[in-house]
């Protein structure tokens, strides 16, 4: 174990305390917040061309939000005590409020918005279906079966209000996750006021990319022609988010380099050594610059639809991988150097075990299964046409 050490580290620092599961935590919450913000573009900012992705984005956000806390809880040394954070929160802690923000976001924003949006369909499905599903949909209506124009108008109004509340909530959810890292003054790699802002913009990047990929995959599986106007618009917003994110991350780095504080030397060694591939190649190269160039090219020059589709898919996947490595570089990178600034420890990802890469893959597949289940239960493409008003 001591062979992992390079230079001098405090003896208690040899073990990395937050590993791949804590990388997943900001990754997953970021996907949720970003997907929701894409949905709100349609609902609040009236970008009507995004309509086909509205419910897809909401259900994707829900699928991921449901597992967002699982890597966290399973990472605790005393997972059976996790509820203490809810019943006896310690308010000076940046971590203590996460449970409340999470619940607020899940119960008040996402679930309520999806329910209001789907209520009419749920009632109609409960009338049309037979057998078990009839009852399932009936239960999901929560007994509110009124379909009068007035009631539906209320649904719409409330749904709109919740989306309006939802936008700052999504910012809060992920900005807060950024604050958990950004507020650790002992760690110069984390401690920056820009951290919450960078987290919000990188969340938008990853969430938009996720919905774009899901949208394409869903259309492929259903053998439907994809709505190119919609896809082009998602790509445009992805490009905007990418540029903003890139600018913020660039600003953060320029600021660090120019100020060159006490920690600069060790961070310089970190970036040029242990993080070379994950930072320069995956996060900035393949995850940011290549997508920006591809998407900007499509904005400027007309290209064949097929080429656009293929490259959108590749770009989406690259962005998703890139943002994963962004979280990795923050969480793992921040623990590779000693707080004495005199040396490094190493991190070797295990394959098996509760902290292993297989477990991480499980926590990424489970939300996709939940999303697939939600698409089956609440198919966005089998919804009833809006009644004439």
């Amino acid at each position: 174990m001591l062979s992992k050490v390079d230079g001098f580290i405090y003896p208690n620092e040899i073990e990395l305390n937050w590993s791949v599961l804590i990388v997943l935590y900001p990754y997953i919450t970021g996907l949720v917040a970003g997907a929701f913000i894409l949905a709100s573009l349609e609902r609040v900012f009236k970008v009507k061309v995004l309509r086909p992705t509205y419910t897809i984005a909401l259900l994707t956000a829900l699928g991921f939000l449901l597992v967002a806390t699982m890597p966290l809880i399973s990472h605790l040394a005393q997972p059976q005590r996790f509820y203490e954070i809810m019943i006896t929160p310690h308010f000076t802690s940046a971590m203590a409020i996460f449970g409340f923000i999470y619940l607020w976001y899940l119960m008040v924003v996402l679930l309520l918005e999806i329910w209001l949006d789907y209520r009419r369909d749920l009632v109609l499905w409960s009338q049309e279906k037979t057998g078990v599903m009839k009852h399932v949909y009936k239960i999901l209506t929560l007994g509110v079966t009124d379909l009068s124009p007035k009631a539906l108008k209320w649904d719409d109004k409330l749904g709109y209000a919740i989306t309006v509340i939802g936008i700052p909530s999504a910012f809060l959810l992920h900005g807060y996750v950024g604050f958990i890292f950004g507020s650790v003054k002992a760690n110069p790699w984390w401690s920056t006021v820009l951290m919450p802002v960078i987290f919000i913009f990188s969340a938008m990047v990853s969430g938009i990319a996720l919905v774009m990929v899901v949208f394409m995959v869903v259309n492929y599986i259903r053998k439907k022609m994809i709505d190119m106007a919609c896809l082009d618009t998602i790509a445009k917003y992805l490009l905007i988010a990418l540029i903003l994110d890139f600018a913020l991350e660039g600003l953060d780095q320029v600021h660090r380099i120019y100020e060159a504080e006490e920690s600069f030397q060790i961070l310089d060694l970190l970036v040029k050594g242990k993080l070379t591939y994950t930072l320069f190649l995956f996060q900035w190269g393949l995850g940011m610059l290549v997508p920006i160039l591809v998407l900007a090219y499509f904005q400027m020059f007309k290209s064949k639809e097929r080429l656009r589709r293929i490259l959108y898919l590749i770009t989406g996947v690259l962005v998703l991988v890139g943002i994963f490595f962004m979280r990795w570089n923050v969480v793992v990178g921040g623990q590779l150097f000693s707080k004495s600034f005199y040396g490094f420890t190493a991190f070797k990802l295990q394959l098996i075990g509760p902290e292993g890469s297989l477990m991480a893959v499980v926590w990424l597949i489970v939300p996709l299964l939940i999303v697939a289940f939600l698409f089956w239960l609440l198919p966005p493409w089998k919804r009833h046409a809006e009644p004439e008003t």
Partner: protein
């Protein structure tokens, strides 16, 4: 019926909003106070313990680190220390070499040839029992706390093992105990000092390099130590109001 339902839904929503609003207000009231955590000085009347470490006396024997492990049942593996000793060697070219093999328990050997050494010395490290400790600030459940005597402690039966405190400590003084699976650290031998005894590391130091005492008692050894020496704390820019005071601390030490 439709009208009634809309009404009852409206009533439900307004009640829910009121409840949520109430919770939010009470939470945010606390949180605003919580933001001021690292700025407020604590008002203390009883004993307020701290430690002086005289680097000019330390000979790097490692007794303190060894005894601490025995006294407090700390794992003997070389990755868990409540207190440890570092050997600093400053070379003629200004470079710094630091080692702490097994926390200094097995003693030190000097690897740098004599003619290359500019200065060499030992630095015992331990929890700084900060007055404004980042670890207490970040604990999400309040399992780590300040005792009325200014000792930072961990409640083993309460800690959820999130490791946020380990991340927050600027001095590397915390670890997750491999057996208890909770955060662990120096308690200033709380079980001993409450009985009027000295912390184990202070008791065994053959050179008297560690000086334990009550900062509120003008006649204590620690207050005298602070008066007689140009002391310094580790990483003063962290503004943690550390209560471990070093005499002879050089700028190279972090």
């Amino acid at each position: 019926m439709g009208k009634d339902e809309v009404k009852s839904r409206r009533r439900f929503l307004s009640n829910a909003a009121m409840l949520a609003g109430g919770i939010f207000v009470s939470v945010s009231n606390n949180s605003i106070g919580a933001l001021l955590y690292a700025t407020e000085r604590k008002d203390t009347k009883g004993p307020w313990y701290g430690m002086g470490i005289d680097l000019e006396q330390c000979i790097g024997c490692g007794h303190c680190a060894n005894t601490c492990k025995s006294e407090n049942g700390v794992s003997r593996e070389p990755f868990y220390f409540r207190t440890w000793v570092e050997q600093y060697t400053i070379l003629n070219d200004g470079s710094v070499k630091i080692t702490s093999p097994n926390g200094g328990i097995d003693g030190f050997s000097q690897q740098v040839p004599d003619e290359d050494i500019f200065k060499s010395f030992f630095v015992p490290k331990m929890c700084n029992h900060c007055e404004k400790s980042p670890c207490v600030q970040v604990c999400p459940v309040g399992a780590t706390y300040d005792s009325p005597e200014g000792v930072v402690l961990v409640d083993d039966s309460y800690c959820i093992g999130c490791r946020y405190c380990v991340q927050a400590c600027p001095y590397g003084c915390r670890y997750i105990d491999p057996v208890k699976k909770v955060a662990d650290k120096c308690t200033l031998c709380y079980h001993r000092i409450m009985k009027g005894q000295l912390p184990a590391c202070v008791e065994v130091c053959p050179k008297g390099a560690k000086i334990f005492g009550d900062l509120n008692d003008p006649g204590s050894d620690l207050v005298r130590f602070k008066k007689e020496h140009a002391w310094q704390v580790l990483k003063p820019h962290m503004n943690t109001d550390s209560k471990v005071y070093y005499n002879g601390l050089r700028a190279e030490v972090r």
